[in-house]
């Protein structure tokens, strides 16, 4: 691993709360960005300034809750961490939250944008697999990154319909700090999962990871993206950040991807992930959203090449006053493309969900299939779910369906289990677990399934 640890002092502008052009520039200098990257960062700042702050009347943001934002009280960055000797040498506050029980091809742990621990299996390195932190990659792999970095989620984001303001993607473009770079060379198979763990440990500083993943022609990768954060101190504003991931799956390649968002309950943040698929490529993507006070997740799949296929599955479990604002896009840009999306949630206490999913079939994307389903369980009558599954179809030789269902735990199911001797609480718990099983069952790493099952189970609580 060739990660360079920057030991330079944090510049004074970055110690002040609030976001400014000077701070954006200082961050680029401090992280030693090459010039071409600094130019992109500058675009990011311009876009951030130009794009109006979304509000209750902005299309796509009506159901968001941005009251947690306190931008002038957040520092753009914080000091970089020391390198730990091994995973176990990392602070327990993090290690006890991360399941390290299974074998990995590589692990990169970033704390507040800096690498705290990172390893890659040698076999992979010898095969030409690159796994490093973003800043090192920007300096050393310009050949690979110039065509991919900030291309899929650019500073001035044009996500296509429906128009999204792109405000917080711009903020990330101006203040990105940390992130991973994964490259799998053509026809190389990486089945041991490669893991990136992003931990925001300074509640006063914003977190802005930006990652790029390239799975080259005919290659295969299993990749886990994990997000954690500390609690905000009593009376302080929510821990805040905006992460971006750009994933490129080239012709004939396959990515098995798992995103787990387990931010602390006092974190408000944005996570924008886009996958683009080359000809005959395939992605199996599971999004697990459990943490955060208010979180907005954007998961987009661009079916760019002919014959591509994407399975996008997600689950969210809301408790207390958690707000999940989930946006998905299945953008069919070529003929014979298939997408299948299933998002399942359960909400208890006063949790809220706003789900907005779109299947977009471009003209000429004949022979395509798009499926979309959103199923929400309301476990308490104080919980609330809004669901907007949308279809926009510009070709007639397609087959698309979507469905949405919201309601309490099905009494028929509970009764049947009770007739087999399970007490009501256990029967209900089982039905709720069953609700999530079709999503959890699709997680590419067997061991991780049980970890997620346990995490969900803890949240079901006493029924």
């Amino acid at each position: 691993m060739t990660t360079l640890v920057r030991t330079t002092e944090l510049p004074a502008t970055l110690l002040e709360a609030g976001f400014s052009e000077a701070a954006s520039r200082a961050l680029g200098e401090w992280r030693d960005d090459p010039d071409w990257v600094r130019a992109l960062r500058a675009h990011g700042w311009e876009a951030w300034e130009d794009i109006p702050m979304p509000g209750k009347t902005t299309e796509g943001w009506r159901r968001s809750d941005l009251r947690f934002l306190a931008l002038d009280r957040v520092r753009p960055a914080t000091a970089l961490p020391e390198r730990a000797a091994g995973f176990d040498a990392l602070p327990r506050a993090l290690t006890e939250q991360v399941d390290m029980s299974f074998a990995a091809g590589g692990v990169l742990v970033q704390r507040d944008g800096g690498t705290a621990y990172g390893e890659i299996v040698d076999d992979l390195r010898e095969q030409g697999v690159i796994f490093t932190d973003l800043h090192t990659a920007l300096r050393e792999h310009r050949d690979l990154l110039e065509a991919h970095f900030m291309q899929l989620v650019p500073a001035r984001w044009q996500p296509g319909p429906p128009s999204n303001a792109g405000k917080f993607e711009a903020l990330n473009a101006a203040f990105f700090n940390g992130g991973s770079f994964v490259y799998v060379p053509p026809n190389t198979t990486v089945t041991l999962p490669v893991r990136s763990i992003f931990w925001a440990s300074d509640p006063a500083a914003g977190f802005f990871p930006r990652s790029v993943v390239i799975v080259d022609r005919g290659a295969r990768l299993v990749y886990l993206d994990e997000y954690r954060s500390v609690e905000a101190p009593e009376g302080a504003p929510a821990v805040f950040g905006s992460g971006v991931v750009e994933l490129y799956i080239k012709d004939g390649a396959r990515l098995d991807y798992v995103t787990t968002q387990e931010w602390s309950p006092s974190t408000g943040g944005f996570l924008t992930q886009r996958v683009t698929l080359g000809r005959d490529a395939y992605v199996n993507w599971v999004v697990v959203a459990l943490g955060g006070l208010c979180s907005r997740l954007t998961a987009d799949v661009l079916l760019q090449g002919k014959g591509t296929k994407a399975d996008l599955l997600g689950l969210a479990f809301g408790e207390r006053t958690q707000v999940f604002d989930i946006h998905t896009l299945q953008d069919h840009l070529s003929p014979y493309t298939d997408s299948d999306q299933l998002f399942k949630t359960a909400l208890r206490d006063r949790a809220r969900l706003a789900y907005e999913g779109l299947i977009y079939i471009r003209p000429g994307s004949y022979g395509s299939n798009g499926y979309q389903a959103n199923k929400n369980l309301l476990l308490d009558d104080t919980a609330k779910a809004d669901s907007i599954p949308m279809l926009q179809i510009h070709d007639n030789d397609v087959r698309c369906t979507h469905s949405s269902a919201t309601g309490p735990v099905d009494e028929h199911h509970v009764h049947y289990l009770m007739t087999r001797g399970l007490p009501r609480p256990q029967a209900e718990r089982m039905v709720i677990q069953g609700h999530f099983e079709p999503v959890i069952g699709r997680i590419a790493v067997e061991e991780l399934k049980d970890t997620i099952r346990d995490a969900v189970d803890r949240r079901i609580g006493d029924r």
């Binding site: 609330k384 949308m390 279809l391 007639n396 979507h402």
Partner: protein
């Protein structure tokens, strides 16, 4: 225990005649297949305010009608709001509407015809061209045919009068029953609702006023025909239906319009109030000519145990934006919205439905079917909101789109908001083209491709047509056949 319900298992609010299928077939044989719109008669308007709108014109309209002061005041206030208010930023493109290039008031004849004999000959001719058969005219409970902006012919069957049912045009309703109109006018749809509701409130003319007393079942559907027939004539009819406790009424409006080269605007407001245990069915088959902007606000209130059904078919117009909505305010109230849209080349059908569940044990279903052809655009917008405390409410929304050609566009935007746990709510949507296997099967039985597609399309929108009275169902199937004949896009 929460009940789950399958939208397909819900019976229609009015049971379907078992002989219906057979009667449909026979009726189809008898009626000539001809396009019913496309003619206009040379009629000289008696009075018009000229193109455009200002405060004076609004006051003049009110004065011409001899209205009471309160109505003049509402008109003026609504006009002021119309000026301030922007057009909706979403939905179809309305930028081409030039509000200064529209006649807001045209009075075609001096007096209202009391009997059929008194109706002017030109207008009778128009009805002939519209193909309303003699027998059907007799069958109609009361014909309230809106021609230009005034109701010219009106008759109420005696038994309706005896039952105390009021079925008249809105202007007469205001004159003869000011106390009822004042109580309900603009209460369901206030002029501040949207720009076009404000415009309608300012310049409305004509429309129907229906009042059904407690416990009265109006056996035969009340029908009204609307038609635009003047260059750039705006139609701003206003309809108000009040069904008192335990009563039943079915109101049907059918619209056909001649084709004009310049854009025309139809902007109606329809308010329905269903008191405790009352039922209102409101059926529309809209076939405006392909230059009309059809921007209509329709809303109903249903109290305890009441049922409101909007049966809404959109075939014509250049642009339609219409989302019939129902507020379920009382326990056990029911809402049903069944709509069908056919968008051919150059047309945009932006339609849907809204239901607000504001009381426990309320039920709603929204069923939408859209067919697009050529460069047609169909957009479905559904909105179901279940407020907290509306326990044991059930809602099912379903929308299916069929795209016949490559350049079609179909959009589906259902919004589902649930604030209450003990409810069952589902939404399903499909988009498809004509199934190749179905097509092959029908063609292997000797049908031409066009015939086969027509059959499949008619089958596809059958959940809508089965809600229509037979003569409308026949007409609809024919219009669809005619749409199929139109040049392939």
């Amino acid at each position: 225990m929460a009940t789950t319900i399958d939208i397909r298992e819900l019976p229609p609010a009015v049971s379907v005649d078992p002989n219906r299928e057979r009667m449909l077939r026979e009726a189809e044989k008898e009626l000539p297949l001809e396009y019913r719109a496309g003619w206009h008669d040379e009629l000289k308007p008696i009075f018009t305010t000229g193109k455009g709108l200002d405060r004076d014109i609004v006051e003049t309209i009110s004065k011409m009608k001899g209205e009471l002061e309160w109505m003049t005041e509402i008109r003026v206030k609504a006009y002021e709001h119309f000026l301030e208010r922007k057009l909706p930023a979403w939905g179809a493109d309305l930028a081409q509407i030039n509000f200064d290039d529209i006649y807001y008031y045209i009075k075609p004849t001096e007096a209202q015809g009391k009997t059929w004999e008194e109706v002017p000959e030109e207008i009778k001719n128009t009805f002939d061209k519209l193909g309303i058969p003699e027998a059907e005219r007799k069958f109609l409970a009361g014909v309230s045919a809106q021609y230009e902006s005034e109701v010219v012919y009106h008759s109420i069957r005696e038994d309706l009068e005896k039952q105390g049912v009021i079925f008249t045009d809105m202007d007469s309703g205001l004159r003869e029953h000011p106390e009822i109109v004042k109580k309900y006018f603009g209460k369901v749809i206030p002029y501040k609702d949207n720009k076009l509701a404000a415009l309608n409130t300012a310049v409305w003319s004509g429309g129907s006023f229906v009042y059904v007393p407690k416990g009265v079942h109006v056996q035969i559907p009340l029908q009204a025909y609307f038609r635009i027939n003047a260059k750039n004539a705006g139609q701003f009819e206003r309809t108000l239906i009040i069904a008192e406790e335990g009563s039943f009424v079915h109101y049907i409006e059918g619209c056909t319009a001649p084709i004009w080269s310049e854009d025309s605007l139809h902007s109606a407001v329809v308010e329905l109030i269903a008191m405790k245990d009352a039922t209102i069915r409101y059926t529309t088959v809209q076939n405006w000519s392909n230059n009309v902007y059809n921007l209509v606000t329709k809303r109903a209130i249903a109290y305890e145990g009441a049922t409101v059904a909007w049966i809404d078919g959109n075939l014509g117009s250049k642009v339609t934006m219409k989302y019939p909505s129902i507020y379920l305010l009382g326990k056990g109230a029911k809402a049903e919205i069944v709509s069908a849209a056919f968008a051919n080349s150059g047309q945009t059908q932006d339609a849907g439905g809204k239901v607000w569940h504001c009381a426990p044990e309320t039920t709603s279903t929204i069923t939408s079917k859209s067919v697009t052809k050529g460069t047609g655009r169909a957009e479905f917008r559904g909105w179901i909101k279940i407020y907290k405390g509306c326990r044991d409410s059930v809602s099912a929304m379903r929308c299916d789109a069929m795209l016949l050609d490559k350049e079609c566009y179909s959009g589906t935007t259902p919004v589902i908001e649930v604030d209450e746990e003990k409810v069952a709510l589902g939404h399903e949507a499909t988009v498809s083209k004509v199934g190749e296997e179905e097509l092959f099967y029908l063609m292997s039985r000797g049908l031409t491709e066009r015939e086969a597609i027509t059959q499949i399309v008619n089958g596809f929108i059958e959940p809508f047509t089965k809600e229509l009275p037979m003569e409308y169902a026949v007409e609809l199937n024919k219009l669809i056949a005619l749409q199929m004949d139109a040049a392939v896009g």
